[in-house]
């Protein structure tokens, strides 16, 4: 169980300066930030595809790069698996040959070929050429190629953005299980808050080449709403609804002590799903009101209030932390304060189930 230490600095011709330092322990770390914040550059530096002007990259005892001691381990000796944003499959090789490309060079423990092929749903594609695959399929092959070489560090640049929602979740679940089993460091780049909240153990927030926050994924993202860092001026809501069951023709689940009414759809009875919704779709009321068409009435307590660029965001605990957005005028007249009890009203149709497995 060794973590990755990253410290890298580079001044680019265009005036952009990267100056990032963070730790990535075994498990899944997300690199989150707006485009142009240097996320991809950091991955390339770790992989050895790009040389930084200064810094130190070290995995446990193994030093990848150190400008002081003039250590620069060539790419092929770093034991990384890089999944680039535009998959970069070898066009002259079949899917099978692409997947096996790194296997012959690798002396490390690595996952079983058949297992990875099954996890990534690549069974029927092995003899095809990359040019005949869809974007999502190519992405999965690139993932498989990186995983199959048995990397110590798995680096993924928006690895799942072309996957459909149902498959995305399964893929990530299986991938995380593999990461845990091999106890390796996995870093993925994303600009989707929901993906980070769902899939990452930790998040590193990058903004204009600097680390502006790091820590447990959801808590770090929430804390950053205050600072507007990493392009986060609007939080998103992602909650896990469990104990799903049908009740009088509607799907009902539990959100802490509260009852959540889900939009029509297919759900696993007794199971759980993630649901996302916008902070602006949450209405707040001091007391429960009857006679409303809104189905979701969640009792909660205010954790914090953040004012940001003409918006007021209220951070609440309804069994899980969520955000509500209200106007400054509403805040003026209602004067919400941390610790207040409120009722959150959310229309069923505002809930977006992210996973239906």
């Amino acid at each position: 169980m060794t973590g990755l230490h990253v410290a890298c600095g580079h001044s680019f011709d265009g005036g952009f300066t990267l100056d990032a330092q963070f730790e990535a322990p075994p498990g899944v770390t997300a690199l989150f930030g707006p485009s142009g914040s240097g996320k991809t550059t950091v991955l390339e530096i770790i992989a050895g595809v790009r040389r930084p002007q200064r810094g130190k990259i070290q995995l446990g005892e193994k030093c990848f790069f150190d400008d002081h001691t003039h250590v620069e381990l060539p790419s092929q000796q770093r034991g990384v698996g890089l999944v680039p944003q535009d998959d970069l499959l070898f066009p002259h090789l079949s899917v099978r040959q692409n997947l096996q490309f790194g296997v012959r060079y690798s002396k490390q423990a690595r996952p079983e070929f058949e297992h990875v092929v099954a996890v990534l749903r690549l069974e029927g594609l092995l003899d095809r050429r990359p040019s005949t695959l869809s974007g999502g399929e190519r992405q999965r092959v690139a993932l498989g190629r990186a995983v199959l070489r048995g990397p110590d560090v798995l680096l993924m640049d928006e690895p799942i953005n072309a996957q459909d929602e149902a498959l995305k979740h399964r893929l990530i679940q299986d991938l995380c299980a593999m990461v845990a089993e091999l106890s390796i460091v996995a870093i993925f780049v994303s600009h989707d808050q929901n993906d980070v909240r769902r899939f990452a153990d930790r998040v590193v927030l990058l903004d204009r080449g600097r680390v502006v926050g790091a820590g447990p994924a959801a808590a770090t993202l929430d804390a950053t709403v205050k600072s507007h860092a990493a392009g986060i001026d609007t939080p998103t809501n992602l909650v896990r609804i469990c104990e799903i069951h049908a009740e009088q023709g509607a799907w009902i689940g539990a959100l802490g002590e509260n009852r959540a009414v889900l939009p029509a759809g297919q759900y696993p009875p007794g199971g759980a799903i993630y649901v996302s919704f916008q902070p602006a779709d949450v209405l707040l009321s001091r007391e429960d009101v009857g006679g409303l068409s809104v189905r979701n009435h969640w009792r909660g307590r205010i954790i914090d209030i953040v004012t940001s660029a003409g918006h007021v965001f209220i951070h609440l605990d309804v069994g899980q932390p969520i955000w509500a957005e209200i106007t400054p005028q509403a805040q003026q007249s209602l004067a919400f304060r941390p610790g207040d009890s409120v009722i959150c009203l959310v229309k069923t149709s505002a809930l977006r189930p992210l996973q239906t497995t």
Binding site: V49, S75, Q76, D86, P91, H92, G102, Y105, S131, R149
Partner: protein, 231 residues
């Protein structure tokens, strides 16, 4: 097609000369094509133009220079003869050498374009997957540039097949030894009443040249599709 035994001999010799010329120049051409297609360095233009020079130089000049170097009193020719007892000028080796020199620019240009079209990020990915520089070159760069390399080989072969000016200077026109197809055609023209008898070799030459161009064009198109990573 009706060819006399002498003409068959010329065809065989032309094939041999062109094949040897290409085989000898391929390794340096691949190396140079890779350097020119991938590297930036001071004086690159000088190297580029020097490599291309035989393409535009009168072949007779190439032959003259080769004869200066490899002839009996040439610097290299004399050394070879004194030390190893080997004579190159006026043998089929000299014809092959002349073909190699004039075909070299075509080969390098094609190889260079092939390497330039290979996405360097594919090579970088191969490295992250554990492949050494060397293995990346042979496992990724060469296969992706392959159609362009073969296209260059075909063109250089066709050029070697038809090489005349430099060949006649350094190799002469010795039947059975250095009389390749173009020299045989030239010989027919010099023979009284031989004008008409040249047509089988003329047609054969047209067919070879045209087939080479078609093949090279087809390979170039195929290479264009292959070497660019999809998306």
């Amino acid at each position: 097609m009706v060819l006399s035994p002498d003409e068959w001999q010329a065809v065989g010799l032309s094939l041999k000369v062109a094949a040897v010329a290409v085989a000898v120049s391929l390794p340096p051409a691949v190396l140079l094509g890779w350097i020119l297609g991938r590297r930036e360095f001071r004086g690159k233009v000088i190297v580029e133009t020097l490599v291309t020079l035989p393409l535009v130089l009168p072949p007779v000049v190439v032959g003259y220079l080769l004869l200066m170097a490899l002839g009996r009193r040439g610097i290299i020719g004399q050394a070879l003869e004194d030390w190893l007892g080997v004579r190159i000028a006026f043998t089929w080796w000299a014809a092959a050498l002349a073909s190699a020199v004039v075909g070299f620019p075509l080969l390098v240009r094609s190889v260079r374009l092939g390497f330039a079209a290979v996405d360097p990020r594919l090579e970088a990915i191969a490295r992250t997957l554990g492949a050494s520089r060397w293995r990346t070159f042979f496992g990724v760069s060469i296969p992706l540039a392959w159609p362009a390399i073969v296209s260059g080989v075909v063109l250089a072969f066709a050029r070697g097949w038809g090489e005349f000016g430099a060949t006649i200077v350094i190799a002469g026109n010795i039947a059975g030894q250095t009389r390749t197809v173009p020299l045989a055609i030239y010989g027919s023209l010099e023979t009284p009443g031989g004008f008409a008898s040249a047509w089988p070799l003329v047609i054969l030459s047209i067919v070879v040249a045209w087939a080479a161009l078609l093949g090279s064009e087809w390979l170039a198109r195929r290479g264009g599709r292959l070497s660019v990573a999809v998306r």
